[in-house]
């Protein structure tokens, strides 16, 4: 158990450190890398809690897809992050003060937290049933929380529509390869056989 605690504190420290790194790094690429580090350590924390499925999802989706996408975007966009951050130092004291205050308050609140077994009795049903993580999530996601799941699907649909609406442009000035058109071409359309009399080919 002591090892578990040591690992927890290491992971926790790294997550927090990486979070600070994300916002403090001067180079945006470094920020994204810090983000990836945070995701990894968070996944480690999930594993510590016995939630392997969440840990893997986190790595696959966030690290494998989202963070890498971020990285591409950041590298392709020419954004002067220095200019964007120009007010950082100026606003730091106020921001830090407010943030610190909020932090202290939240710590105070968590100090009052007590696990009330009676109230929580309905939650770990699936843990007791010795199901795998994946099975348990699937069971509950497609039954009890099916409505929320469907709604999440709708949200993704809207996000997709939105992305298309806001970014898709039919650019007429750009020539594109139209494979279907290419394949559909027949020799008749594209090749004309011309008989050239001898001596007049020049």
């Amino acid at each position: 158990m002591i090892l578990e605690a040591i690992v927890f504190y290491i992971f926790s420290a790294v997550v927090v450190g990486a979070g600070v790194g994300v916002i403090a790094a001067r180079n945006p690429v470094h920020s994204v890398l810090f983000l990836i580090l945070a995701f990894f350590t968070a996944a480690g924390l999930f594993i510590l809690m016995g939630a392997e499925f969440l840990a893997f999802i986190l790595v696959i989706v966030y690290v494998g897809a989202v963070a890498v996408l971020f990285l591409f975007v950041v590298m392709m966009l020419d954004i002067d992050f220095e200019r964007l951050r120009s007010g950082f130092v100026r606003y730091l004291p106020v921001g830090a003060g407010v943030g610190l205050l909020l932090l202290v308050e939240l710590v105070l609140i968590f100090g009052t937290w007590e696990v009330a077994p009676k109230r929580l009795s309905s939650v770990p049903v699936y843990a007791r049933a010795r199901l795998t993580n994946t099975r348990a999530l699937g069971d509950i996601l497609y039954t009890r929380y099916v409505f929320a799941f469907e709604m999440a699907g709708l949200i993704l649909l809207v996000a997709m529509i939105g992305a298309i609406i806001l970014t898709l442009r039919h650019r007429t000035e750009v020539r594109r390869q139209r494979i279907a058109a290419q394949l559909a071409r027949t020799p008749k359309e594209s090749v004309e056989v011309v008989k050239v009399p001898i001596g007049e080919g020049a």
Partner: protein, 483 residues
């Protein structure tokens, strides 16, 4: 393990229909050549009306679906009526505008349909998770429509601002939900209500959880100090979107707000009332004061909306059945006059271009007397001057506040409405007494004309037969207090 029983789906039938209709229209639109926006808009409006009919078929009887996560009752019927009507009308009102601006795309009504689906879910949410997904569905759709005029400068900016700030507020909301879950072990409104009924005083953790959720909701209804996005987004978004923003999502968020405060946490009224009173006073004061300095009518409507949210919150602060009835009456009347006011704003076209300055209304009474009259009716109603409907809206919330011993709040309400009446009446003054500016284009689109006439008549003659609205609001409010 025992498998869950099949969920009860019937109460959510209109929502499912709406989502399906949205997807069907999307496919229909994709397969049609350009220029079918008008047809699809009308079809979308038709779908909204059908969904409304579905709600009426369900009736005001209390039905619970999806393992208690989804509920329909008189309250949801009342609010969904407003939301669906508001969505349908804004689709129709925006037709001409979108065509003029070259943004008449079929995705617009589809997105509104999806947003309306989200709003209906918000209204019916009986669980914190449903609350959140409904809210997000609506939000994501709203981000997109806010930046719908993507070639412009201000519209994408508005959408982006709304997106960033809304994401922040959603984070706060979600954090609150997790606090509530952490301190109670449940996300269900029903379970929370049982818990609250058995608790003498809530722990500080639960209270802070409620505070965070309230902050998230206050953002959605644009209550001060979480209102900052409102003026910029109202001004930047295309006008039909602004009209939509100021009606349907606001009402849906308010419905959610009311249900969240009353159904699970009515016993903690004395605890959360303080936040509501603060939000209410701050909103009324800022709405009244900041509106004075505005020159853009859409921006002015934003401050007006902030102020009106403050008045509606008075009823919520009262926390009684009478107070909730006041909220519902207020919101219905706000719905009427705001739609009307936006119909006027959408009629402000000059030489084929939309204008938005308050001074563009100068001398409207001489160039377009009927439009000026409608404008005057809406402005007097927004200011709360009898006998227009706006007066009665205020009257009901103030009375409720006084009966709930919140005399101070009512007094602040009266004082701020005096201040706010300055900028409403100023618009009337400009329209009636200033030297006429160049006249607006004629004719006004038929859809707008229809909305204008109906809303103006209802606003002006509300006092003749207020019975149905008051009765409906009363039943809706009572259904929340049913144990």
């Amino acid at each position: 393990m025992a498998h869950e029983a099949l969920p009860v789906l019937a109460p959510a039938a209109p929502e499912m229909f709406l989502a399906a209709a949205a997807m069907a229209l999307l496919i229909f639109g994709v397969t049609r050549p350009n220029g079918s926006a008008r047809l699809i808009s009308w079809l979308a409006a038709f779908a909204l009306v059908l969904a409304l009919l579905g709600e009426f078929a369900l009736g005001g009887e209390r039905r619970v679906g999806y393992y208690g996560m989804f509920v329909t009752d008189s309250f949801s019927l009342f609010m969904k009526t407003l939301v669906l009507l508001g969505s349908a009308l804004t689709i129709v009102m925006g037709l001409k505008y979108n065509e003029d601006r070259g943004i008449a795309r079929f995705e617009f009504p589809v997105l509104i349909l999806l947003a309306a689906t989200g709003m209906m879910v918000m209204v019916s949410a009986n669980d914190l998770i449903i609350l959140f997904v409904g809210l997000e569905l609506q939000n994501v759709a709203l981000y997109v429509v806010a930046s719908f005029e993507r070639e412009g400068v201000r519209s994408p900016e508005a959408g982006l601002k709304y997106f960033v700030l809304s994401a922040l507020s959603s984070g706060l909301l979600l954090y609150g939900i997790s606090l509530i879950y952490g301190f109670t072990g449940t996300t269900s409104f029903a379970a929370l209500a049982t818990l609250a009924a058995g608790t003498a005083a809530p722990g500080i953790g639960l209270i802070i959880g409620i505070v965070f959720v309230v902050v998230g909701l206050a953002f959605k209804v644009s209550a001060v100090p979480f209102h900052m996005w409102t003026p910029d987004v109202y001004e930047g978004a295309p006008t039909p979107v602004t009209a939509f923003f100021s009606v349907a999502p606001k009402l849906a968020a308010f419905a959610l707000f009311v249900r969240f405060m009353i159904v699970p946490f009515a016993p903690f009224l004395s605890e959360w009332r303080q936040i509501i009173v603060f939000l209410s006073i701050a909103s009324m004061a800022l709405g009244a004061v900041a509106g004075i300095a505005q020159e853009n009518i859409k921006r002015l409507m934003a401050y007006s909306a902030i102020g009106h949210v403050g008045y509606a919150l008075i009823g919520l602060a009262a926390g009684t059945e009478e107070g909730i009835r006041g909220v519902l009456v207020y919101l219905s009347i706000y719905f009427l006059m705001t739609l009307g006011a936006f119909a006027v704003i959408l009629s402000m076209r000059r030489n084929g271009r939309m204008v938005e300055g308050i001074n563009d209304l100068a001398g409207l009474s001489r160039t377009q007397p009927a439009l000026a009259l409608a404008l005057a009716i809406f402005m007097f109603s927004l200011a709360g001057i009898p006998p227009t409907a706006g007066f009665f809206g205020k009257l009901y919330v103030f009375l409720a506040a006084i009966n709930a011993n919140l005399v101070g709040l009512a007094v602040v309400g009266v004082l701020t409405s005096v201040v706010a009446s300055f900028y409403y009446v100023r618009i009337v003054k400009i329209a009636y007494f200033d030297e006429p500016a160049a006249p607006f284009d004629r004719p006004i689109a038929a859809e707008l004309k229809g909305v204008l006439i109906v809303t103006a008549l209802l606003t002006l003659f509300f006092f003749v037969h207020p019975g149905p609205l008051i009765g409906g609001a009363k039943a809706a409010a009572a259904s929340l207090f049913l144990r």
